[in-house]
Symmetry: C2
Subunit: 129 residues, 2 copies
């Protein structure tokens, strides 16, 4: 994987290390990051996105704690061979459940018609924009 493939928004309210953790978590569960895949080094990511190496390290450590990454001493971090990657659809769905609930609640409070919300989301999912 490349450092430029990571999407990071330094200005977002969501802390940087968590942005990384959740993104990598999803890419592994989705199968886009297969076991054995080497991750970009902490300094590489940090340099590219102008953030602190320790922030990246923290993200990697958390992912290691989850068993998703493994440390190759002297080499870097890689997607763990034992990582539960390319998970079944139902399990991947569960990862966006909280977001779905929040969205539904917000839409309800705004009295937005379901059709309208669904149409817009469909648009974003298909076209990506």
């Amino acid at each position: 994987m490349d450092a430029s493939s990571l999407t990071i928004a330094p200005g977002a309210p969501e802390p940087i290390y968590r942005q990384i953790v959740e993104q990598v978590r999803r890419l592994i569960a989705g199968g886009q990051l297969p076991p054995g895949e080497l991750m970009p080094s902490v300094r590489e990511v940090a340099g590219f996105h102008a953030i602190n190496p320790m922030t990246v390290s923290r993200a990697y450590s958390l992912l290691e704690g989850e068993g998703l990454l493994e440390r190759l001493r002297g080499t870097g971090m890689a997607v763990a061979q034992s990582a539960r990657s390319a998970r079944p659809e139902a399990e991947r769905m569960s990862l966006i459940e909280p977001r779905l609930h929040e969205l539904a609640r917000a839409a309800r409070e705004l009295e937005l018609p379901a059709s309208r919300v669904l149409r817009r989301l469909d648009q974003l999912l298909e076209n990506g924009e």
Copy 2:
């Protein structure tokens, strides 16, 4: 409005005062809180949800700053007469745009089929559960 109508999750990562602000913002934009509607007192909300009155006051003050609430001295806070309430659909949609983008991105990284995501969201929007 009643203090019990406010949904507050003290354990959530989202700070309490912002939970209140955004919720009220949406309820006004959606028209469920019409101009003139009296808000529950800070002590009432604080007592019901076991939080600090100053935390509620902070939320109310921010909403006053946005022109959504107005202070009725000696009485409490009410939805401002000048509040832009019951906004047109397009404007209400814009309030959930960020959430929609995040959701779409997460779904994409998880390689989830659009149909599945849309079906689940539809379920939550219609049944509320």
